[in-house]
Symmetry: none
Subunit: 539 residues, 2 copies
């Protein structure tokens, strides 16, 4: 039997204290549902005493009927008052939460500097507040703020704080590394001492990432005997963030033999992380451990050829266990094995001994030398590979474009584009405005095509990146444009490179639409009616 | 006396294996210079056998005369061949590097699966290759790939591999956690065993961040007796990245009592991290430990009032030690003091109690909210401050521009710009071509101005950067353009922001020229002849 670790999620409370993270009550409810599906044991929803958004959350979350315990956060009572008269404690009781996290001081320096009260009164504040909530039927998690700094400064007082919390009946005692400055061996030593002083207590750990050690510190505490981890999805939180549950849960479960959540739920981890980053509107780093898009992406040539023989050679776990997947990136560092495996992934037959195939490998290398980057432009790469395999029939050809940007003093800037394409032997000439030059080009190009290809109505550009390649050449430098496009079911990426940002954008735009229509060709091929519909125009 | 730790930087090699990181030879040279200023001891520049870009880097880096040891990376000789006949080893020798990192297998599974040779031949490959490079005068760092996985699978063989490397004369023996799956306590135990087996060897640690433990694993190895850390700036690297030197160096130096780099250089850490993220064009997470923009940012409420009483209450170190700074979010204090110190730096009199001054502070904050960034655009900020101080008299005013990009199938793209400005009451209308839209605008604007202001002939644009701000808004997103300009004696930076890349570029171009002419005003003011020459046109 392996030990169980309780997972306490504070994405909705401490997570929202991170810069750039701001969640509406609706957002919080969506995230709570997702966290519950993942199987966390506690969901700290916010501070009911602080704002109406959190009050609304606590009210509406009860209707969802979640399995996780909904937890409200607040401070111990104010100095020299009664717990029953404290407004914050009252708000917690009124919130309807099943559990309360109560934060109290355990660093004597803070008692003097921040609270400006005596060490004795601080102990009374903690004892009274916990007792009051327990008497009112709540489960109580006591958060000992600055516990490690406090312990280093005055171990006796820090221990007396959590002993007092245990006496008052706290269900969990959380040791917080509030400033994130403690090191893993210090956490291990201090938690070990606490375990031997309070052998009956349920201990919990709450760390911050200021030294990039929040995950390691959480694991250290577990190894020393703590049985609950407080953290957030994707490590959101004040300053450098909280302990990242997306890294902690799989490590505890897959490598250290602890039980946290169901193995089946673990497969939802990557999806959960991405979902919450979308709701929070925070860009998810591609290299995020375990759940990031590049966590199992292989770029180096040697790596790739070994991975193809046996994935254990360069993967520490099987990505499927956490719902992520292996990807092979194409880059100048890699040999042709990357391109071959990409072709295989795309279901293309591709024989490296064949002359056509080695030509396309040379072509890709040459394009990369010019500044193209296919690792983030799968769709452009697929178009090249299919072209080399003779599998592409173009549905339209380009004749010309003009793009005009005009501005007069005091007037808003105007962008217009004029596009001429040939569809099925017919020249189509259109004009459109846009809120910028690329938007105008995009609008004009779709306008020209959408009557013949109505499926283009369902796609849109979802991401646009520009990178100046040799910045020293200033405005004469090459730029690389990466475009991400989406329709209801798919996302694809294309690339364009030119000394002219408009031409580079145009290239990526055209590839995006060619790729969208490629799907249409394949789809229509199955029904054998594409040729009679449009006639195929060869490139 | 505290122990010294050698810092081995592999940003230019392993760092470029990260997704989205791609560096030109020029980029690599700029980064090498910056790393040398920081004081790292080894700079691994690339793989001289792999591509022409790396060969160029190793050639040109010698001209920089850096203090750090320039290091070339490569594999041990191929199986069943002579070291002296090995092409990769030859490339390392020809590169001119002072040191070589040689990677060899230490996991028996890899010897069989990836190399497909015998355990004995692998030992011979390692021994021969190290000996050959040592005989040719190079310092050799032996990278024992997959050392921890190898040790767990077959400790005897893993130890025999590094023992063999030591016998061949390797100067450093690096234990690599190549797949990033090892835990800190495992690293500590295994490194401790190695230390007792090879007490004379110089041991180095190389970790990856697949479990978000790369920093903790590096520190564990040091605590067990290793004396070198291999890592990258900002943790760039394959998959989830390498050990992040920006977190490791300050922790070792400020918290653990080791010597890594000079205390003065440590103050360059934040700047170095930001510079390299700009060159690599990889977005730096605001919550990055130590060096990120939010690492010492405090949101309103309890934290802020405590911080104002004593910054130790919520900061684990003083941000100045690593060149970062405290920020109080949602507070007037932070912005204002920044602007005041900037004004002082520029020699401007600037009184915050004065109404004009508080207006310009509000204006700057509003612009920053819109996406302007003055940290990298001193000249644009100076124009704003001088304007507020009534110190600017414009020498020209803008009337209108038009910018046309045209392309027909099979023809090169054409860019033209038409600019109308007013100089001294006279309208001047010019047209020019360029190799891109911004270049055309630049050409047309100078053409309009240069007759009246011949000094503009001496300036040119030396750097041009584009960043898409809200990538999710795709082609409707705002972009920020940063332009660097130079004349014989000065360099200055300007910024423009707009939903339209052309308009944003225009803004930055105009600021650049206004700034150049500001110099002229000042210069001419001294000779008191500017007004009679041109008459001042008020903006």
């Amino acid at each position: 039997m392996s030990a169980s670790i309780s997972i306490f999620d504070t994405t909705l409370r401490d997570g929202t204290q991170g810069e750039g993270v701001s969640l509406s009550a609706d957002d919080k409810l969506k995230i709570a549902k997702k966290l519950d599906d993942l199987g966390v044991h506690y969901i700290e929803g916010g501070i009911p005493g602080s704002n109406s958004k959190d009050i609304e959350f606590f009210k509406r979350v009860q209707e969802l009927g979640l399995r996780a315990k909904i937890t409200a956060f607040g401070s111990t009572r104010r100095k020299n008052t009664e717990a029953s008269q404290d407004r914050n404690l009252q708000c917690i009781l009124e919130s309807g939460a099943q559990a309360a996290t109560l934060v109290g001081k355990s660093w004597d320096f803070h008692v003097h500097t921040a609270l400006q009260t005596t060490l004795e009164e601080n102990l009374a504040m903690i004892y009274d507040s916990i007792l009051y909530l327990k008497q009112n039927g709540l489960e109580v998690i006591f958060d000992a703020e600055h516990f490690f700094d406090g312990y280093k400064n005055n171990p006796e007082y820090a221990l007396s704080v959590i002993t007092k919390a245990a006496e008052a009946g706290a269900d969990w005692i959380t040791m917080c590394d509030t400033n994130g400055g403690t090191l893993p061996h210090e956490v291990y030593d201090i938690v070990s001492t606490v375990v031997s002083n309070l052998p009956q207590a349920n201990l919990s750990i709450h760390t911050h990432n200021d030294c990039e050690l929040a995950v390691a510190n959480s694991l250290s505490a577990i190894q020393a005997g703590a049985r609950q981890i407080q953290g957030t999805i994707n490590g959101y939180g004040e300053r450098c963030g909280n302990a990242n549950l997306c890294s902690i849960i799989p490590t505890l479960q897959l490598k250290m033999g602890y039980d946290c959540i169901q193995a089946d739920s673990l497969k939802q981890l990557s999806n959960t992380a991405r979902f919450i980053s979308e709701i929070a509107n925070v860009h998810m780093p591609v290299n995020q451990p375990y759940v990031g898009g590049a966590a199992f992406a292989h770029k180096g040539g040697i790596h790739v050829s070994a991975i193809l023989r046996d994935s254990r050679t360069y993967e520490h776990i099987s990505p499927e266990l956490i719902g992520n997947k292996q990807r092979i990136l194409v880059s100048e560092l890699a040999g042709q094995s990357n391109i071959l495996s990409k072709a295989k992934e795309m279901g293309l037959e591709f024989d490296p001994s064949n002359e056509n195939s080695s030509k396309v490998i040379d072509k890709i290398k040459d394009l990369e030398h010019q500044g193209y980057q296919f690792e983030a432009a799968d769709a452009s790469l697929e178009l090249l590979l299919r072209e080399a395999n003779g599998q592409i029939s173009e549905l339209f050809t380009f004749e010309s474009f003009k793009m005009l940007v005009e501005k007069s003093a005091g007037q808003p800037v105007v962008s217009e584009a004029f596009v001429k394409v040939n569809i099925d032997g017919q020249s189509v000439y259109t004009a459109a405005e846009g809120n910028g030059p690329v938007n105008a080009l995009d609008n004009a190009l779709r306008k020209a095509l959408v009557q013949s290809f109505p499926s283009l109505q369902e796609m849109h550009l979802s991401d646009y990146k520009v990178r100046v390649l040799d910045e020293k050449d200033a405005t004469a430098a090459k730029v690389r444009v990466l475009i991400e496009s989406k329709n209801v079911s798919n996302t694809w990426n294309t690339v364009g490179v030119s000394g002219n940002v408009i031409e580079a954008s145009w290239e990526a735009l055209v590839d995006s639409i060619r790729y969208a229509l490629l799907g249409q060709i394949n789809q229509n091929d199955k029904h054998s009616n594409i040729e009679s519909q449009h006639g195929l125009v060869n490139h």
